[in-house]
Symmetry: C2
Subunit: 372 residues, 2 copies
């Protein structure tokens, strides 16, 4: 059907897989990296640029958008796609994570969470049902269940309580979503650092009728090996034929290692935030353009890059822009970083399709530490 | 000669004129508006965008660039054109105006001015000779004499003293410039609000061998009618066959009225600065996108505009971006404003060429006050 939400795996290489999600708005090639468009904009980028780098989908933050400009207002403006001039797929999170990290005076109970806006102190309430309603008002193509994400490390009892609550909210979220042709809703595996809890969560969610499953509550302060072990623990219990989304991850290395363990989708503020802070992700590793050693360096960031921002401007100039606080510095480095991330994903997809993913990982990592 | 600096007037309409400056880097269609690229970047714009809007030349600020990254460093990086990825003509000011408005602990005498950087407190000295040397290190195509610009209103004695000093500095600047094929140096008319002083300054400068003459010390706080009267006073004493540049001006209305009085070149931070502060220049006048009345307005800024930023984004979205402090809001509104300014200049040039400049001015001004 034209308006279906489908996922197909085209090729596997070990546990890594490549394929595509299709929905009425387009095709999302997986493994996919979703640039974060928090408040309805991928910061410091024109939407056409984001698209032309190879992004098939962006992420919008329910928490930010419900506070400003407001979900009902976004709906009146024709939905988030139209508002932000991005006609391609959009995934929205549930708002739960940012309520926990950004809002003030929050109070959580079985029903949901009430909190004060970090912008103007107004009181809001978010329940599984309201979160899905908001995501629908935004017009989101892939919607996320409301969950409770605890910060690691925490006690086993605390992560178990949050995991169980998240499972009950998963049921309510799935119910609230109902049936929306062409749109999808994902459940979220929780369970902290406790393998048994992660397995319980994954198995329970696999029984529910979600279109995809996410692994949440990682990349929240734990070491990378803990994160990777949790992915390995969960993966055998996730349905093969549904997309797997690792929320909020991560560094290029995190992405390679997670794809290796069967993850299909990622989102992270890292490339955009780092770009606004003078840092560039490159084939040669990470550069901090604020560093004085770049002040007289006439080389571009990467003359072989597909991205004009990496080819047409010297490191010395970028250093100058960063030191001067110029917006163009943020624009150029964000562009460099999103190009690097999307090129990385394209490389990952091609390598899996050709059965040489391990080689690709090895070559990519070797590039990061090789002297230029 | 290929590498000459030439100015030709192709058509006049009353005192208004249209023509072209040519130099080895390109052709500058006049009347021209020069976007301001203070620290080596037209803020919040990619250089290709600035070019594609029809800008033939941008302005760089000697004061900012001499402090950071430093004139000698810019030269080592291949000059300002190469550093900022702008291969087209560049005009630099002398640094004098910003020394007066931005620096600390400045001390002016016959020789020049010493001051402390507003960035790090380091001490610098600027003389007519050093200013020209810096502008040459930057690789500037059109260089400006060092002058002393007094803030209006001031006493007649004060403006006379500054005007006479500026004339002596003009001689030294012209001498310091020497002969640089393809490059040009402009003198600057001073004299405050005093007609006799303005005339004395213009006549003296007309006798010197400058490639063009600027009118300085205006748009510094005086009413528009004073500024226009000063232009009218000076104009008959400026050589017809040299370009006339009104420094730091101005609003679209200022530009129309100054072109009417024979001015060929303009620069102003207004379109870029206003764009970063939520204001849009349009055919319908100025919009403040921060205003709550735009919060639910699904109309674009101007659906008939040549600029995608004015066509493809709703006012409601721009309002949201401005209220949220998003960089994209600054990027889009700067784009809108520079497009408006360049479209205005193109309209001015066409109208003069067709002998209907007065009609063009009338229609343009009527548009600003007509309800949308």
């Amino acid at each position: 059907m034209m308006d279906d939400f489908t996922f197909t795996v085209a090729a596997t290489d070990g546990t890594a897989r490549t394929g595509a999600i299709t929905n009425p708005r387009g095709t999302i090639r997986t493994p996919a990296f979703m640039p974060v468009g928090t408040a309805g904009t991928v910061k410091a980028m024109y939407p056409e640029q984001v698209r032309s780098l190879g992004a098939d989908i962006v992420l919008g933050n329910t928490y930010h958008l419900m506070l400003r400009p407001g979900a009902e207002r976004v709906a009146e403006l024709g939905g988030l796609h139209r508002m932000m001039n991005w006609p391609h797929p959009i995934l929205t999170d549930s708002g739960g994570f940012q309520v926990m990290s950004l809002s003030k005076l929050r109070k959580l109970d079985e029903n949901g969470v009430t909190f004060q806006s970090h912008i103007d102190g107004r009181r809001y309430s978010l329940t599984p049902e309201r979160s899905l309603e908001i995501q629908d008002l935004l017009g989101s193509d892939i919607q996320m269940q409301l969950d409770e994400c605890v910060r690691l490390p925490c006690t086993e009892a605390e992560s178990e309580r949050a995991m169980r609550l998240s499972l009950r909210w998963a049921e309510r979220s799935r119910q609230a979503f109902g049936n929306k042709p062409g749109r999808a809703v994902f459940g979220i595996v929780q369970g902290g650092e406790v393998e048994a809890q992660r397995i319980e969560s994954a198995r329970a969610l696999a029984e529910m009728d979600f279109h995809g499953l996410a692994i949440g509550g990682l990349a929240v302060g734990e070491p990378q090996d803990v994160m990777l072990r949790m992915i390995e623990t969960v993966e055998p219990h996730l349905p093969t034929m549904k997309p797997r989304y690792l929320m909020g991850v991560g560094t290029p290395d995190d992405i390679l290692e997670s794809v290796r363990r069967g993850v299909d989708m990622f989102d992270c503020v890292m490339p955009t935030r780092a770009g606004r802070h003078g840092q560039a992700f490159t084939r040669f590793g990470k550069l901090n353009l604020r560093n004085a050693r770049h002040a007289d360096d006439t080389r571009p960031i990467d003359e072989a890059s597909s991205c004009p921002a990496a080819r047409d401007y010297s490191r010395a100039y970028l250093h100058h822009l960063v030191k001067s606080g110029e917006i163009l510095g943020m624009m150029l480095l964000t562009w460099v970083n999103l190009a690097y991330y999307q090129d990385l994903m394209a490389g990952i997809r091609a390598a899996i399709a050709e059965g040489r993913f391990d080689d690709f990982v090895g070559e990519t990592k070797a590039g990061w530490v090789k002297p230029e």
